[in-house]
């Protein structure tokens, strides 16, 4: 592992965690949304480092580009851009939230040091080799339309249901 990769990884990880922290503590919803975008960009960078270049691009296009724009649009539409009274919970609510989150992190602590059992791990660079062979998009697209065809088709119904639902809720007259 070249040291440069590690440096970039930790820089991006730090950026993601900082962005997330600021996202949950900023008073203005607009600031929260923008810090979340920072986190999403940092995650896209991490995806690239982890041999998922195509997913990284999608992350920028779909998440940062489409979903977060939708959020910002609604925040503007509801005129929540200016900082109003804080919506953070008081000291008691904060303490409860910190306690629960701390417990969760403690439980999750084991994840960082563990990993898949060695038997099922593939040799280093297998995915990268696959991508060189089939192309960035091809490596993801082949199984998507082969092994994962059924989930893929379910996704299309899911999106249709979401469209119908959003239209029903948003139209003026019932």
């Amino acid at each position: 592992m070249p040291p440069l990769t590690l440096t970039v990884f930790w820089a991006l990880a730090g950026m993601a965690i900082t962005g997330a922290t600021l996202c949950i503590t900023r008073r203005s919803p607009l600031a929260s949304a923008l810090w979340l975008v920072v986190t999403l960009f940092a995650l896209a960078g991490l995806f690239v480092l982890l041999d998922a270049q195509f997913i990284g691009v999608l992350q920028v296009l779909v998440y940062a580009g489409a979903i977060m724009v939708l959020f910002l649009f609604v925040i503007m539409l509801l005129n929540l851009g200016r900082p109003g009274p804080s919506d953070l919970k008081g000291p008691v609510g904060g303490a409860v939230a910190a306690l629960l989150a701390g417990t969760l992190l403690l439980q999750l602590g084991g994840v960082g040091s563990s990993g898949p059992p060695d038997v099922i791990r593939m040799p280093e660079g297998t995915v990268a080799a696959l991508q060189r062979e089939q192309g960035m998009v091809g490596a993801v697209a082949r199984p998507l339309f082969d092994t994962y065809l059924i989930p893929f088709e379910i996704t299309s119904i899911l999106l249709l249901a979401a469209i119908v639902g959003a239209v029903v809720l948003a139209k003026r007259k019932l």
Partner: protein, 503 residues
């Protein structure tokens, strides 16, 4: 008929029920796009929905009759009796909901036939959950169902309470999905697969019973499911959402949605984690908390709708007892209970819809005083539902509870069995007053019950539910045999060599 899921024909046949229902949903959506203004359009849309559900049920029956199955490990969707039985359950719950909805939508002036489209989408999601053999299919089915039901909960847009119910349900549901998904990710990380049977094989052959990653993943998965089935202490959203949503939707959420979450939970735990026993204690603990808290809080409710909401939480506790046993006797008891619970809960909510107006949240239990003298049949039906919910001998509720008790006793879970009996006794404290008020108290004033009207189709639904409760209460054998046969099928496939995972 043995299906090969790797060729198109086998795949299409295995997915036939879902495909038929999706086709009907598309037809309905096209119809609704052009015709959505008058009451008549609404009725036609409801009629199409009913036909869709019946044809899908017939398709499921055809596959069941031909004993469809797969050789070896099923990919993505399971093809077994458990799937067919749960499919019938979801289709039945949706069918009764449609019957109740006909007059309800007209009465409350909810003239938007998209209601039925969303209902069909939700049923497709449920069927995928009940048949999911892969954690990803399960997750997507769950989301498909949830997204449709979020909208249904807030369908009455003029009512601020319905909008609040939708918001609450949505935020909690999305939060729970996050936990569920993280659990799936960690289970994938620990085993290298998301196929339920293969997860079971990997846990067994790689001895992952105490692998931290797998256990954390399983824990997160259980938290996500606990939210979805409204188990205490993850239940706080349920009473509010059930209270605020339109009553037929509440009935659907309390029966179909809950049954789908339970069906998926049961399959995941028995197929993928028979070797990781840690979940048994967690589920048992959740069951105890849910039975005790659900029943005690229900005692304090005066509104009929809220009382039914807490009662549905309490019944989730009884179902968790069946899940905790994790045996094939447990599977049979679980399925029998789901059927009985769906019938009696849907009947009770349908009758509530007949009594109330504008969301029904203001119908107090005391408002039913003297109903028996004015509307004897209605009062009788509600009394049967209440007795069945209580677990009175001669009703399906009793038989179902009895089999759960037997299953729990069979594996030596005496504590769970004892708490189940004790909390059932407590539940008499809120079910019996409903009957007493109807039969023993005089009506408060002359016209107290003039507005109470059960529409013709809703009447059919209630009659079907009551007939089912009484029939299965007296002759449970047919249902039980079906459930027993089904229970044998839900097992991991033991003979399988570890395949190199990933591609």
């Amino acid at each position: 008929m043995s299906l090969d899921l790797s060729i198109p024909r086998g795949l299409l046949l295995a997915l036939l029920p879902e495909l038929v229902l999706t086709g009907w949903a598309m037809i309905l959506l096209l119809f609704v796009a052009w015709r959505h203004r008058t009451t008549r359009d609404l009725r036609v849309a409801g009629g199409i929905t009913a036909v869709a559900l019946v044809t899908t049920a017939a398709t499921v029956w055809w596959l069941w009759w031909n004993q469809a199955g797969v050789a070896g490990i099923a990919q993505m969707v399971a093809v077994d009796d458990y799937r067919w039985v749960t499919d019938w359950l979801f289709l039945g719950a949706a069918g009764l909901t449609v019957l109740v909805s006909f007059e309800y939508l007209e009465r409350e002036r909810l003239l938007a036939p998209e209601y039925y489209v969303l209902l069909l989408f939700a049923v497709i999601g449920m069927m995928l959950m009940g048949g999911a053999e892969d954690l990803m299919v399960l997750f997507l089915g769950l989301e498909l169902m949830s997204i449709a039901v979020y909208v249904l909960a807030g369908f009455d847009r003029r009512n601020p309470r319905a909008a609040e119910a939708a918001l609450k349900y949505f935020l909690i549901g999305a939060f729970a999905s996050g936990f569920l998904l993280y659990g799936i990710a960690l289970i994938y990380g620990a085993t290298g697969t998301t196929n339920l049977s293969l997860v079971g094989v990997q846990v067994d052959s790689l001895r992952l019973g105490s692998d931290p990653m797998l256990l954390i993943g399983l824990g997160l998965l259980l938290v996500g499911f606990a939210f979805k089935v409204a188990a205490v202490p993850f239940h706080m959203w349920a009473p509010d959402v059930y209270d605020g949503a339109p009553t037929p939707v509440t009935a659907f959420m309390a029966t179909g949605v809950k049954a789908a979450a339970f069906a998926a939970l049961f399959r995941v735990l028995t197929e993928a984690f028979p070797q990781a026993g840690a979940w048994r204690e967690i589920v048992a603990g959740l069951a105890i908390l849910t039975m005790v808290a659900g029943n005690l809080v229900a005692l304090a409710q005066r509104s009929l709708k809220r009382m039914l909401a807490y009662s549905s939480i309490a019944h989730a506790g009884y179902l968790l007892v069946a899940v905790a046993t994790g045996t094939s006797a447990g599977t049979a008891a679980f399925l029998v209970y789901l059927v009985a619970y769906t019938l009696m809960t849907l009947g009770a909510f349908a009758l509530l819809a007949a009594k109330g107006r504008g969301g029904e949240s203001d119908v107090l239990i005391d408002d039913l005083a003297g109903l028996a003298s004015r509307r004897p049949w209605l009062a009788f039906a509600l009394a049967v539902c209440m007795l069945s919910l209580l677990g009175f001998p001669g009703t399906a509720g009793f038989i179902a509870k009895w089999y759960i008790l037997l299953a729990a006793a069979g594996v030596g879970e005496w504590l769970l069995a004892a708490i189940l009996v004790l909390t059932s006794v407590v539940s008499a404290g809120y079910y019996l007053p409903v009957i007493m008020v109807m039969y023993m108290k005089p009506e408060p004033f002359e016209q107290a019950h003039t507005g109470v009207k059960l529409g013709r189709l809703a009447g059919v639904a209630v009659a079907a539910a009551v007939a089912g409760i009484l029939y299965f209460g007296v002759r449970p054998n047919g249902l039980l045999d079906l459930a027993k046969e089904t229970g044998v099928g839900v097992k991991p496939v033991p003979t399988f060599t570890v395949e190199p995972s990933g591609r």
